[in-house]
Amino acid sequence: MKVALKWLRDYVDIKLTPEDLAEMLTMAGLEVKGIQTTGGTWDNVVIGEVIALNPHPNADRLKLATVDLGTGQVTTVCGAPNIELGQRVPFAHIGARLIDPHTEETVLLKPAKIRGVASEGMVCSEKELGISDSHEGILALPPEAPIGTPLNAYLGDVIFDLDVTPNRPDCLSVIGVAREIAALTGEPLRLSPIHYGELEKPIDSFASVDIAEPDLCSRYCASLITGIKIAPSPGWLQQRLNSCGMRPINNVVDVTNYVMLEYGQPLHAFDYHKLKGRQIIVRRAGNGENIISLDGTKRALNPDILLIADKEEAVAVAGIMGGLDSEVTDQTDTILLESANFNQATIRRGCSHLQLQSEASIRFDKGLNSELPLLPLKRATQLLLELAGGRAAKGIIDVYPGKSKPRPILLTAREVERLSGLEVNIDEILKLLKTLGFECQEGDSGSQISVSVPYWRSDVKCSADLVEEVVRIIGYERIPITRLGSPLPQQKSKLSPSARQSNLKEKLRSMLTGFGFQEILTYSLVSLEKLQKLSPKLELKIPPLKVANPMTREQEYLRTSLRAGLLSTLSHNQKFGQAGIRLFEIGKVFLPRGKDLPEEKDMLCAVLSGSRTELSWQADKGSLDFFDAKGVVENLLNQLGLKVTFDIGDDEILFPGRGADIIVKDEKVGIVGDVHPRVTQAFELSNAVCLIEIDLEKLLTKLTGTKEYQPIPRFPSVTRDIALVIDEQVNYRTVESIIRNFPLVTQVALFDLYQGKQIPEGKKSFAIRIIYQSPKHTLTDEEVDQTQEQMLARLHQELGATLRD
């Protein structure tokens, strides 16, 4: 909403600077987004009258204009086609600051000779004055513009651009804003009384109104004027509409808009003679009914939409836009003026169905009060009689099925303090509420007041609303700064499910960053295509939840795994030349549960790809591979105090034979492995990629949260290294589990795997370090030799393993 300072001053004295006023309004809840000053630079521009026009001696297109400035006359060269004798125009003296219409820079006007004739200044266009981009001709001022007055005093203004919150439709009006200013500054609000003569026959003899849907139209008021003369509005009115960003059309339409801006009540004028049956009917649209709206568009209607109709057809979409057929035209001589109240939700539904908004619908959409329509209707009737002539019908039609009596709200000074922390005495509360238009009655006890809410403040419904009114007028800056003194709620146990879950996530994040992984956060919404690309067969295992109104195809489905986000991010970063990349995300996936809310499950996913270390003279030159990924999983789970094993996995995102299931306490909690080449191809990944995925909820069930102390061994250990030659089909895990089965074995470490020279075809060699230790005594060589002999025999017997020579 744009409001002009000069217009506001019609209703309230304003002594503050525009900046201070803006600050005050903003603090009180009416945010001023911008202040635009027009005329601030018009120091040497005054209003003059063109009293003579003569041809230029040396140029056909130019004229010599003599302008009366009140204090004297000047002659100037003018090329504007629209300059006329008797016109009031802005005249810039030498030294005025104007905008050069070609370079758009501000320049000082200098004396000039144009085609041999000296020019003592110039008549200005709107563009030169910085009012608009129009430079086709000079700015013609209204005939009442006072000669000799500085243009700034006449045309200059300050426009406030207000961000009105949805609860305050009253501030979508100049009087509403003036009322706020009055309350905030303590100045009185001035509203002029409205009266006009009613010289025509009674209005009932012209028209009747029938509200078929009283739930959707709580009130319909109308006045009627005959013998009206359609013409352009006077300059002052056009100027005010312009200042609020509305385009002047003709005196009738302009008056309805002006009064809407003034009071916040939308009005509509019908050409009375085009209303068939002399009747207004407020009804729902029928199925298949149409209307051509004022903007010339044919619009299909439905029964959710409320109409204004005559006896035969729709003449307007109630509260949204008038119909073209009943529009006021130059030929109109009798108008019926509507001021009504329509149901807020109905207007909102209608706008959304028609994809249409108007200055009227924006106001109805916020919910206006049924008490509002009458006064603005009278104001508009009065203005029309003044500006367009004619005779008003006697009386006003006022059909008011929705009249309700608002209940007063009780308020105490104690309540104000209880919510705001600010001590305000009851007299101050009374004074403040009165300046906002609330009527207050003191109760018997003196501490409680009964407050009647003025009709323009339907947003105020309970005592908390009144507390806000009191405190925002006093000023939020006066609220004391205190600290919460109430008792703390009982603290949650570290063992509560939510605490354990967030604790686990925090631990994992800290470990993974320690392992060199960069954390990423990717969108919860992904494209269908990406979800499909996660499967080499392009199949969706879990049908994802779909967004009904996605912004883009890229963000249409809720992710069912973190995989797509990780792989896309990896791909993006590989393209920018990042060599070795380790990424992880901990986040929610969304698993549909029919019509219910989806299951939201925390997952961990990580990817590794490229060189193990960045390029360096000392670097390990290898590429990240399966065993890097597996090492990460082992370290993570071991640090959490869990024993982890790996089974051959078959998740379809992994390359067959190069993927494993992560097993903790006999249950699969995740996967690790090389991503299937089809998938890496689909995501345009340039290197082999390893992926880790862990279901954090499953993992959480495996974490007991308790660790048990093991005594530090008191006796020395014995270390033995063996090299086994074994069939290449045999898994390392089989070998290790046989070794570990022997008593005294406390640690087993594979330190070499070899195939090639000296090893027969089809065989491989494991070099294994075994550490023996007893908790009870110092081991002798004999004991260790004996155990190891049995071990080798067993390995030979079960796996055909022999010692390497």
């Binding site: 009180a28 919150t165 919510l419 705001s420 960069q518 920018f576």
Partner: protein, 344 residues
């Protein structure tokens, strides 16, 4: 003999002073104190001397031997010291060579700021809880005083979940405020909690708008909680995050589920309040919306608004690192370019 001993001593000392490495020192020791040294030989030959002379020379020789031994020790210490303070050329490193690289992992800037925010509130006794991203219309809107067709729905452009006929409306939460309701449904005052989480909007993205962003919701409900407490809590928070000097503004604003409503802004970091493009020439940057929990909301969750009061706030998370680091495009956060992420 005595003269000879004196010369021996003098010569040995002179040589010792020239010794500058351990190897030469050893050679010196062998030469002057070893079995074949003149001194040892002289001591051995003492037996042939007459008793009185033997005693005299012997005492002198032993004295010189001790003196040489202690000079040797001194010299050894000196050399060792010298060796440690100025090592040999062969042991010198080119210390300008780069170190062995380690992979470096970092937390996402949003995670970092979230934990910073949560820490501040945890210290004020707030518990951290989480809630679902996909919500019912009821929790996201209706229970928060935003029924269907309420004009405030314009403030929350919503992404809806595809639904069949007659199914209850599900949506991606447009704010973390639904957790106010869920929390008050299951707990009784005193309540003091914050809820970090993802929120979503149906919005075309640009440098200042994202379709997904994080919020932190706060809620405190008990007897006697006032706007003063809200102001104190949020001012403390702003001071912790933005420093003592930063100006903070507490003004009236409207959110349907609080009354009175509040907006908190901090002085613009770019222009220091003078007005610039970043702050829309206002000098202020809005960082959160807040207010006293609306009595209708309390009534809905069966908490008596005449007895209890509370405050709630909702804080935009990305805004904070954007201001702190001068990040001018919110889309950088979730496009996860490592060239961006590795800066934090």
């Amino acid at each position: 003999m005595l003269e000879q001993l004196k010369d021996l001593h003098a010569q040995a000392l002179e040589e010792l002073n020239k010794v500058d490495n351990p190897r030469e020192l050893e050679l010196w020791r062998v030469r002057h104190l070893g079995k074949k040294s003149s001194l040892t030989r002289m001591l051995r030959s003492l037996a042939t001397l007459p008793l009185e002379k033997r005693r005299k020379v012997g005492a002198q020789a032993n004295e010189i031997k001790k003196a040489l031994e202690s000079s040797l020790e001194e010299r050894r210490k000196l050399l060792e010291e010298a060796l440690l303070t100025s090592p040999l050329e062969s042991q010198r490193l080119d210390v300008t060579l780069p170190g062995r690289p380690l992979p470096v992992g970092r937390l996402h800037p949003t995670t970092q700021i979230l934990s910073e925010i949560c820490d501040v509130f945890k210290n004020m006794g707030f518990q951290v809880i989480e809630g679902p991203d996909v919500e019912w219309d009821y929790y996201n809107f209706e229970a928060l005083n935003i029924p269907q067709h309420h004009p405030a729905r314009d403030m929350f452009a919503t992404l809806w979940i595809d639904a069949g006929m007659g199914e209850k409306a599900r949506l991606l939460r447009t704010h973390t405020s639904p957790m106010q309701i869920r929390l008050m449904e299951r707990e009784r005052p005193p309540i003091r909690a914050i809820v970090p989480g993802r929120t979503y909007r149906y919005e075309a993205t640009d440098a200042t708008h994202e379709s997904m962003f994080y919020q932190v919701e706060g809620l405190a409900v008990d007897k006697g909680i006032t706007m003063g407490d809200l102001k104190g809590t949020l001012f403390d928070f702003c001071r912790c995050l933005f420093g003592e000097e930063r100006k903070v503004r507490f003004r009236c604003d409207y959110f349907p589920f609080v009354e009175p409503g509040v907006e908190v802004a901090i002085g613009c970091s770019a222009c220091d309040g003078a007005g610039c493009r970043l702050c829309g020439y206002s000098g202020w940057l809005e960082i959160l919306g807040a207010g006293m929990v609306h009595p209708d909301v309390l009534t809905r969750v069966d908490i008596d608004p005449g007895l209890y009061s509370g405050f709630a706030f909702g804080l935009g998370v990305e805004r904070i690192p954007m201001l702190r680091y001068g990040i001018d495009d919110i889309r950088l956060f979730y496009s996860n370019d490592l060239r961006f992420l590795r800066q934090f």
